[in-house]
């Protein structure tokens, strides 16, 4: 049993906590609501699109921990997780600021959101959103999030290439991620039932 084997064991243990699909569902719903908000030009959906993130930890506590137990990772891993959370928080705050700027645009103070979205700024939003998924992939070592990053970015890119309402491809990308998350969750629930006392 080499050092590499032990590192691999630690990594597999850590990744077990991402097999539940909850992060995918939360992230997917955020993108889905954002896309629908754009499609229907609804400021309400924009305001509430980050709300699925609120359910992340409660769901982890109710679904994941009873099934695969509670673990304290090595200090090195804990440091890495804390650092990742800080970086994600900063990235999230910056994205939120960008969102606020766009939201103010809805009211027509600076610019109209629809017009704003129709311009190349769509790609900026796409890049920020895709970067958030890529960050999760890098920081938390969950490789499927690289795929989500590409999917989300392509959702923002499509209106430049095809005649399609902006927002719809983003919603489709978000819906796809949510469905993948739900499939992972279903498989997780079957694979790891709550152990009997």
């Amino acid at each position: 049993m080499s050092e590499a084997d032990l590192r691999d064991t630690e990594r597999r243990t850590y990744l077990l906590y991402f097999e539940d699909g909850i992060a995918d569902i939360a992230g997917g719903l955020v993108v889905l609501l954002f896309g629908l908000g754009m499609f229907f030009d609804s400021s309400t959906l924009f305001i509430f699109n980050w709300m699925p993130l609120l359910f992340f930890w409660p769901l982890k506590r109710v679904i994941t921990v009873p099934r695969i137990g509670y673990v304290k990772f090595s200090p090195e891993r804990q440091r890495r997780i804390s650092k990742s959370m800080i970086i994600l928080f900063i990235a999230g705050t910056l994205s939120l600021l960008l969102g606020v700027v766009a939201y103010l645009g809805v009211e027509g103070a600076a610019f109209n959101l629809q017009d704003f979205m129709m311009e190349y700024s769509l790609l900026l939003f796409g890049a920020v959103m895709a970067a958030a998924f890529a960050l999760i992939a890098i920081l938390f070592e969950v490789k499927r999030f690289y795929g989500y990053a590409a999917l989300v970015f392509s959702g923002w890119l499509v209106p430049y290439l095809l005649v399609v309402e902006p927002g719809l491809p983003v919603a489709v990308a978000g819906g796809t991620i949510t469905l993948i998350g739900l499939a992972l969750l279903a498989s997780f629930l079957v694979k790891y039932p709550v152990p009997s006392e």
Binding site: M1, L6, R7, T9, E10, T13, L16, R61, P66, R67, I68, G69, Y70, V71, K72, F73, S74, P75, Q78, Y192, P195
Partner: protein, 108 residues
């Protein structure tokens, strides 16, 4: 060093293997606890594939020799029984790995 002396050293490495850890189920438990700081009973059941009863009996054995310890903690105001390797357990596991590597090397 002669071939005979080499063989004797290899045999020594096998003799030095810690029999408490050498049992497959206990080796799994020690490995899983080595890679984390601590974990609860369910975590060990999931990662080792052992049943509750089986795991419990091996845990008792490891606790008796002082390789693991049970800690009561509060996580979000709920009591959780956590298990972790003691310093003695970590040293024993490292020693076991070293001896096992030597024993395997000798068969190459």
């Amino acid at each position: 060093m002669s071939r005979r002396e080499n063989t004797e050293n290899d045999m020594d490495a096998i003799d030095r293997l810690d029999r408490v850890i050498h049992e497959p189920a206990r080796l799994k438990i020690m490995t899983q606890l080595y890679v984390v700081e601590s974990g609860d009973f369910v975590y060990l059941m999931r990662t080792t594939g052992l049943t509750r009863g089986n795991l419990s009996s091996h845990m008792t054995k490891l606790e008796e020799v002082g390789y693991i310890e049970v800690i009561k903690e509060f996580v979000e105001r709920k009591p959780v029984t956590m298990l972790r390797l003691t310093d003695k357990g970590r040293t024993a596991f490292l020693e076991y790995r070293k001896n096992m590597a030597q024993a395997i090397e000798s068969t190459d």
